[in-house]
Point group: C2
Chain length 365, copies 2
């Protein structure tokens, strides 16, 4: 194989596919990036068997070939190359990489040992803007937790229903639900996609509002195609949680509040908590006033916000981190807290239910 | 004590003095910031007994007083306050801090228990621009190492000689020497200043070219005065290393090289080193070519640079980090390496010896 590519082009390609490289694997070939050079295409690929990324880069092809190059060495090297043409010439043993006055030799592996990417037909693709897909992942992913024993909590439910994409994530203490309108309508389908794959995906989607991503499903895989890049992830097998009942809950108290004020105020309230994960912030709603009160060995503090309340007065404790993360995922200037009692989950949702965040309360006293 | 200050003004003051707060001390008062409010001055101070910072902030004074407030709680709180006036009212037990709708109570300590700052007369002060002082610290401090058993290695020698300030730092493997011209001439004097104090100092000097710092010495202390801030540090007692002999060494080989090219090239050469601290980079100088060659389990690489050499051909090994740090501290486009043999220290210095960096070579093979 012999190719000549611009340093920046090579760096972009290598950066994109590195997300699917295993850092340490009993199969050393998974620590490599596969170069497949055919006819007029230079294709880079990485595959950790659960998740693969393939991308095409521009360059001059002198000789076709297929070779796997150690990803860590290659990425480190390409990052530090001068801004010049990079010449890569490989034989069975090594890749000779030349750029400016630098010559490096990096060991290679036989590319034919590389695991193949599952075939996913792109015939019936759901189309969504890159921006919307990245946003819906950002707005839900923090409610999933891949450290939990339950695999479903480390994944998100993608549900296509008519012309809507609905995404659900939950970690046992909270639920994120987001729904967006698509340009076209599609046949109904659901898929449970690992959070790690979605995080990696959203870090490599450029995110243009007018640029599209195609999403294609098989029974076991999902494919995301955008620009010159294809991402394929294995789906989580099984049945996702039934969150329907939660979505239909009713709440006797509604509290409308300025989002920024609420967020900054909760943030301040955490100052006096010695352990943010264990100590709740207690909200006291009395008429149109929402008040925090915190007392600890470091001192005490209190702050009240003007809100617009309909329903009963209420006192309820929250993990402040959960409240803050949900608020940060909402773009609206005003948000409404829906509350029932100190023991029942609270919801932050808009009228159209394009977003619903459920948060379990925390016992206090 | 009762004062009203703008949030930003308070934050700036608290940020400056926090550098001298002990994080954990058997004397809890050292974990505090001392507020001294007299007549028309609000003075903030912290003192870890080796190093103290005092600064004056603007604000309205309702009642004078002196009180020590826990630095960590105060700093955390002030950072997160809304951009508004902050009212601080203290009694013997607590400081009530009010800002917008927030009310906080932070425990206080009796300010009279706070250790006093040593008195340093500002009568005969050495004057230097804030920019120059910050630069000379940056350009030398990386050659000091306060983890070494020898206290001198965790300090810098400041030497005033006529109208020059000379600064020396060394860590046993390398020496940094910098000399700058001052506007005025002063009586000769030397002082050994702890690196930690210099690092903290340079992080709070705004660094304006036309703004001045006054430096005053006693036998045991040094004072740096700038804007509304005074920093006092205890000097290291003893005799500093004699580096005179090193400065007068002669070298048979001179290699003139483009600094940026050399720096980028060394940086790339480290890619294939598995342990940057233990494995040297070997430089091979043959006529007007400087060549690196690295071979490791990750592969091999070689790069040559065009240089202008006078003297003998030479092969010498370096800790690449030492070379890079010295080069980064030099602003010149071209630098000259002065070499004698593979066993003798190398120097990077300019003709006027405004800067001299000595680096011990590393054995190779």
């Amino acid at each position: 194989m012999e190719i000549r590519v611009k340093k920046d082009e090579l760096l972009t390609g290598v950066d994109i596919v590195s997300k699917a490289v295993k850092e340490k694997s009993p199969m050393p070939i998974l620590e490599c990036i596969l170069f497949t050079v055919i006819d007029d295409e230079i294709r880079l690929m990485a595959n950790d068997t659960e998740f693969s990324i393939e991308t095409v880069i521009k360059g001059d092809i002198k000789e076709t070939g297929m070779v796997a190059i150690d990803a860590k060495t290659l990425t480190g090297l390409v990052k530090k190359l001068p801004n010049d043409d990079v010449l890569i010439i490989t034989d069975e043993k090594a890749a000779a990489i030349k750029c400016g006055k630098l010559k490096a030799n990096v060991p290679v592996r036989d590319g034919s040992g590389f695991p193949a990417v599952p075939v996913v037909s792109r015939e019936t693709a759901v189309k969504i803007s890159q921006f919307s897909l990245r946003e819906i992942i950002r707005q839900t992913i923090f409610c999933s937790d891949d450290k939990k024993a339950n695999k479903m909590m480390g994944a998100e439910l993608f549900n296509i229903s008519g012309n809507r994409l609905n995404v659900t994530a939950l970690d046992g203490c909270r639920i994120a639900f987001r729904s967006i309108e698509l340009k076209d309508s599609y046949e109904d389908r659901t898929a449970i996609i690992p959070s790690k794959a979605l995080k990696d995906l959203s870090s490599i989607i450029p995110g243009g509002v007018n640029d599209e991503v195609e999403i294609c499903f098989t029974d076991n895989h999902v494919l995301f195609g955008f620009d010159d890049t294809t991402v394929v992830a294995r789906l989580v097998d099984g049945k996702y949680f039934d969150t329907e009942k939660m979505l239909n809950m009713s709440y006797s108290t509604q509290v409308k509040v300025n989002k920024r004020e609420l967020l900054e105020s909760i943030d301040r309230s955490t100052l006096f908590l010695s352990n943010i994960d264990k100590q709740p912030v207690v909200v006291d709603i009395t008429g149109n006033t929402l008040e925090w009160k915190i007392t600890s060995s470091h001192g005490s503090m209190t702050e009240d916000l003007d809100v617009s309340t309909s329903g009963n007065d209420l006192k309820i404790g929250f993990n402040p981190k959960f409240l803050m993360e949900a608020l940060k995922a909402i773009d609206d200037e005003e948000v409404t807290l829906h509350l029932e009692s100190a023991k029942m989950p609270a919801a932050i949702k808009d009228d159209a239910e394009n977003y619903v965040y459920f948060i379990l309360p925390v016992n206090f006293q």
